[in-house]
Symmetry: C2
Subunit: 152 residues, 2 copies
DNA sequence: CGGGCTGAGTTCGCTTGACGAACCACCCTC
DNA sequence: GAGGGTGGTTCGTCAAGCGAACTCAGCCCG
């Protein structure tokens, strides 16, 4: 038997996807990281159906990934906007990883649509796997998965 | 207008999700990273409907993320198994990122179901954002997104 | 005050996708 | 050549996603 024995039912990947794996959820978060906060702006840039967008925003708020913040522009009635919580901000690496993969394999003529740079020094940024001892791993093959809760 | 102007239609996140964003796709890949290769094993550990699993495996093969490899165990007929290509292996960071997030926010009683360790030194591994100048960024706020193809 | 506009949803048919269960073909072992 | 396991396909049902139309609250202009 080649695959490791462990309890898939509490897999963190499955859990994360149960929360943000529905259609549009991660794209909503992508826009949130780019500064989009208002319903109409999400709707316009994403092109998602309104009903779906309503549902995704509500779900993300319920899950504590976004929070509704009341605000009032001058000469307009009070509205609320959607902002990332820390829980939401912590999804950033997942989006960066997907973006990096898409940049590598889907970009046409090497034209990357969006580049991430270090705010302080301006240099391009990438994801790296590092261990507690400080080694930077070269790839997935340097990783050994260790089940902590075997099924028995 | 707060959000940056850029061409969402070729966003790498959306592109990546169009390829691996369907239900079960990333879970299939999770198992592939853990060594699962055969249809029946995917079906058993995931519990996904057969028809869906067939479709996801075919899609992943078409997309070049998995490849079908014929093999023959002794005393058995020839079968084929599904193995990760380099394109598939490069999705590893995305799964690690989702797993890390799930570990942090969804694990009950701090029990993390699966731990990743450096194969060489045995130390736990985590994802980090680093820039070309070698700085390790502390979080999403240290990142500045730079659109490369403005919509005009 | 009356009517229009706008942002934020909600409702409605329709179509697509996911689901579990049953069915099927191949080829091996006995 | 009977039985069984692998690797699917087919089928009917049910949930989800879809675009378009409708709603509603509040501000603005006249």
């Amino acid at each position: 038997m080649s695959e490791a024995q462990w309890d898939r039912s509490r897999c963190s990947v499955a859990g994360a996807l149960a929360v943000v794996g529905e259609k549009w959820s991660l794209l909503v978060l992508r826009e949130a990281f780019l500064g989009v906060r208002r319903f109409a702006d999400f709707q316009r840039v994403l092109g998602a159906p309104r009903a779906v967008l309503t549902d995704r925003l509500n779900t993300l708020v319920e899950e504590g990934i976004l929070r509704r913040v009341p605000y009032q522009a001058q000469g307009e009635r009070q509205r609320h906007e959607y902002r990332l919580t820390q829980k939401g901000i912590d999804l950033h690496p997942a989006l960066v990883a997907l973006m990096a993969w898409g940049d590598r394999y889907l970009a046409e003529d090497g034209e990357v649509p969006l580049e991430l740079r270090h705010r302080d020094c301006g240099e391009p940024v990438h994801l790296a796997l590092v261990c507690e001892a400080g080694h930077e791993l070269s790839g997935a093959r340097d990783v050994r998965p260790v089940p902590r809760i075997p099924t028995g």
